[in-house]
């Protein structure tokens, strides 16, 4: 155990990947909290799938594999996808969830066509493009890790700088508009930050699972607190812990992929929060419920007036 921990830190490559995944978890946990509160959690899933054609076009244009370039492609494709979703759900009678499903699968289908076209054309340098998409942190080179770390730090700093504005548009967009905030612009900024988080996360955990980096830590954090700053911090910590666990455990064996381990670590944290968090957790709720029942039984036995009874049933 100790040897394993020492080996994690002594191997410079592993150390960088560990640091990169931790920062990525931290950044996406923080940004994910805002999308969670805005009830747009599944947008992350749409953005991740929509990134595929963007990455393929970036590769076809330049024939180079670089994390920065793929990030740009994924970003553009993600923005296009979100515009499509909002256009479909605003101008037709199709509901937003179906619009997301349509855009997600259409973009991914087109991306698949491009990817297989590239692979069959056999330009030689395409190998590893699928590694990028299905997530294997161990396959990252130092340059990619720098990009990942830079992006994650940028996300955290921007989220802290715009904290007040994001808080308002998450809880009460109408009020934010009323006091003269540029709500549309801020929503777009938040959207772009989400896209950046997703595009950066794809390489570490893969297209399908990257949505979990945004959703699960934020949902877990929500159980512990009713205050946004605390929730952001908790989501960041949960994300960072899952990222670290994913990167560390995947060094144990050849066949252990980073993405699923990261996601399962986050899910474990979520399950613990769901059950044990004080106040909102299921165990705390059950205890409270029992306490109230006992109190109600006492008041009934003692012949107290029925006002207490009504209160007990309501809460």
């Amino acid at each position: 155990m100790l040897e394993w921990l020492i080996s994690l830190w002594s191997d410079p490559n592993t150390r960088w990947i560990l640091l990169g995944c931790t920062l990525l978890g931290l950044g996406s946990g923080v940004i994910g909290s805002f999308t969670f509160l805005r009830r747009e959690s599944l947008l992350g899933d749409t953005l991740a799938h929509a990134a595929l054609p963007g990455v393929c076009i970036a590769f076809m244009l330049t024939e180079v594999k670089s994390a920065g370039l793929f990030l740009a492609g994924a970003l553009l494709a993600g923005v296009a996808a979100v515009l499509c979703v909002s256009a479909i759900s605003r101008h037709t009678r199709i509901k937003p969830d179906a619009a997301m499903g349509i855009v997600l699968t259409f973009f991914f289908g087109v991306g698949t066509v491009m990817l297989t076209h590239i692979q069959h054309s056999g330009s030689g340098s395409q190998s590893g493009l699928d590694k990028y998409l299905f997530g294997q942190a161990a396959a990252m080179v130092t340059g990619d890790v720098y990009v990942l770390m830079g992006v994650s730090l940028l996300l955290i700093v921007l989220a802290l700088l715009l904290f007040k504005e994001f808080k308002l548009i998450s809880f009460d967009p109408g009020f934010a508009r009323g006091i003269g905030l540029p709500v549309g612009l801020l929503e777009h900024v938040l959207l772009i930050l989400t896209t950046v988080a997703v595009a950066a996360g794809i390489q570490a955990v893969g297209v399908v699972l990257v949505a979990a980096l945004l959703i699960t830590p934020a949902a877990a954090a929500r159980y512990w607190t009713d205050r946004l700053p605390v929730m952001l911090a908790a989501a960041g910590v949960f994300g960072a812990l899952s990222g670290t666990a994913g990167a560390a455990i995947s060094t144990l064996g050849e066949g252990i992929p980073t993405g699923p381990v990261t996601v399962l670590a986050a899910t474990l944290l979520f399950a613990v929060s769901l059950l044990l968090a004080p106040g909102r957790g299921l165990a705390a709720r059950a205890l409270r419920h029992r306490g109230m029942r006992a109190a109600y039984a006492r008041t009934v036995d003692g012949g107290a007036p029925p006002t207490g009874a009504a209160e007990g049933r309501e809460s």
Partner: protein, 292 residues
């Protein structure tokens, strides 16, 4: 003959998905379909590990159970107070992660490629045949899909009225004495079964495309459920055949081409639909402005 089996598989996938998709769209559960199609992966992996073979019936049953488990977990998290989008996201990513992990840890026992999980391998369908008592019975995928389509047609044929009422007005259906929850789980069971049997041919993500896109296209074209189902199947079948031809020309993934064609058909109906299309709406608005 190879082409025939591939096209037949694609048409069966398209048929099964586009019928069920209509009900998912109407019940606003499009993304639950997405979740199910990803979450059946651990079921498929476990069925593989337990039976050791690609025995279809095991796989179909095991993985269908996981689909229902997904629906149950999403429902449970929602009753525990979590918002619906987050509960869908958490459940399906967790189950998909379990599936990927199981497959990568048992790579030598499971004959299932991770690329295939996402994109499907419909081109290999004709080689993977099912033999019964020494005679070749044709591709296994066609049998599995055939059973699925039969089950769907049978259940919908028997309970069409009930499914229709549950789709449009669950409260009214409950008031009429229809067991709404039972029909909900029946529908979800059929979606899981379709997701499992289509899984190897078109992959997890493109199943979702076939579930949602043809149904949404039909939803823009008509206001009647019966017509909507018919149109949806037509769109699905046309995309399957045209997609296969396109993949031949482009030398690219068949499943990807099928979904792309379906997407193009959706864009066409989005623009050109006589009642709900963007062009028709714009011209109506203009003529209304002219009257003023």
């Amino acid at each position: 003959m190879m082409d025939f089996w591939i096209i037949l598989t694609a048409v069966l996938v398209a048929g099964a998905c586009s019928i069920l998709g209509c009900f998912l769209i109407l019940r606003r559960m499009a993304l639950v379909g997405d979740a199910i199609s990803h979450a059946v992966l651990p079921g498929i992996a476990i069925a593989f590990l337990m039976s050791g073979t690609r025995d279809s019936m095991w796989m179909l049953l095991g993985a269908t159970a996981f689909g229902l488990l997904t629906v149950f977990l999403i429902q449970t998290l929602q009753t525990a107070g979590l918002q619906s989008d987050a509960s869908i996201g958490i459940v399906f990513t967790a189950l998909f992660a379990v599936g990927v992990l199981l497959i990568s840890l048992n790579a030598q026992h499971i004959d299932l490629d991770l690329d295939c999980v996402l994109f499907g391998e419909i081109a290999y369908v004709p080689w993977d045949t099912w033999t019964l008592g020494g005679t070749d019975m044709g591709p296994r995928a066609v049998w599995m899909l055939g059973i699925t389509v039969t089950v769907i047609l049978l259940l919908l044929g028997l309970f069409y009225k009930q499914f229709k009422l549950c789709a449009f007005d669950p409260a009214m259906a409950a008031a009429c004495g229809i067991p709404v929850l039972l029909f909900h789980y029946l529908l979800m069971g059929m979606v899981s079964m379709t997701a499992v049997s289509s899984f190897e041919s078109v992959g997890a993500i493109l199943v979702v495309g076939m579930l949602i896109i043809p149904a949404a296209t039909a939803y823009l074209l008509t206001d009647r459920l019966g017509v909507m189902i018919g149109l949806s199947v037509a769109v699905g079948v046309v995309s399957a055949v045209a997609g296969y031809l396109a993949s031949y020309l482009l030398d690219a993934s068949i499943a990807g081409c099928i979904v792309s064609v379906a997407g193009i058909l959706f864009i066409l109906s989005l623009l050109l639909s006589p009642k709900h299309g963007l062009i028709a709406k714009a011209s109506r608005r203009r003529s209304a402005a002219g009257v003023l």
